[in-house]
């Protein structure tokens, strides 16, 4: 029941993030375990900055989180988090917030043929 703009933008970001083979590869590897950005940069024929950019796209889509440990930046998949009961309840909350907003709007309308 969530089909609002914000939700659509989230979906767009998600599909944009997954539309690139390198990013899909990074995500799959992150799902298998923690990764450091420098290790990723060694494995792909691209600069550290380019890898950082890919990770940032995945991060904005809510697919990975980044964490600093000493001099290393670690990438971790957040797909399990996304699937958690907590997250599901957050989505339901968003549905009900919108629903109650509309409820209030309909309620605030002047009644047809009502008393002036």
């Amino acid at each position: 029941m969530v089909a609002d703009m914000a939700e659509e933008q989230r979906v767009d970001r998600l599909f944009q993030a997954l539309a690139d083979a390198t990013r899909r590869d990074i995500l799959q590897r992150a799902m298998a375990g923690e990764l450091s950005i420098s290790a990723l940069a060694r494995d792909y024929p691209m600069s550290m900055a380019a890898v950082q950019k890919h990770v940032a796209v995945l991060e904005r889509a809510g697919l990975v989180t980044k964490q600093r440990r000493g001099r290393e930046q670690l990438v971790r998949s957040s797909i399990e988090t996304v699937r958690s009961a907590h997250h599901l309840l957050d989505e339901l909350e968003a549905i009900w917030r919108e629903r109650m907003h509309r409820f209030g709007e309909v309620l605030a309308e002047p009644t047809q043929g009502g008393t002036p």
């Binding site: 609002d4 998600l14 009961a85 339901l92 009900w96 109650m100 409820f103």
Partner: protein, 163 residues
């Protein structure tokens, strides 16, 4: 309208939404009891609801469908458990198949609504939803009615599957 609280209980898989309205109890009740009013707020603007049957009495049934941007239709129904108009009712909220019949394979949500006058004026409405299991809640969100991110998340495994 002011939303005074949303309490989510991850262990009990429940959510309680409390709202206050500057309107009398009867007017708030009407938004559930009048199908033409109900369909104006139940579905989002992109998935408007059309209420087909509406019998808000104990043992009664409400059925509706929501129409998506592609003309896709998603049916739902309420089995009315108890009603004390205009103050409370309890329903089971479930999914329908393509013919509008109850789909027993899909989970139902129990929802209890109470509407009461506040001593200082206005009305307080409390909506409590309880899901049978985490799997049920997940399934519910991934169903047709819940387009968007959940559906996309559901496709991630397929997208990531090694070709």
């Amino acid at each position: 309208m002011s939303m005074t609280s949303i309490e989510k209980d991850v262990d009990a898989l429940s959510m309680v939404v409390t709202c206050e309205f500057d309107a009398p109890v009867d007017a708030v009740w009407e938004l559930w009891a009048d199908p033409r009013k109900l369909e104006r707020w139940w579905g989002p603007p992109t998935y408007p609801a059309t209420v087909v049957d509406h019998d808000l009495v104990a043992g009664g049934r409400v059925s509706y469908y929501m129409t998506g941007p592609e003309g896709d239709q998603h049916g739902g129904w309420w089995r009315v458990v108890a009603v004390d108009a205009p103050h409370s009712f309890e329903i089971e909220d479930g999914f329908a198949d393509e013919d509008g019949n109850e789909n027993p394979d899909l989970p139902t949500t129990t929802m209890r609504v109470t509407i009461e006058a506040k001593p200082e004026g206005g009305t307080r409405m409390v909506t409590s939803s309880t899901f049978p299991s985490r799997e049920a809640m997940e399934q519910m969100l991934e169903m047709g009615l819940e387009e968007g991110l959940s559906a996309a998340i559901g496709q991630i495994d397929a997208i990531l599957a090694p070709g």
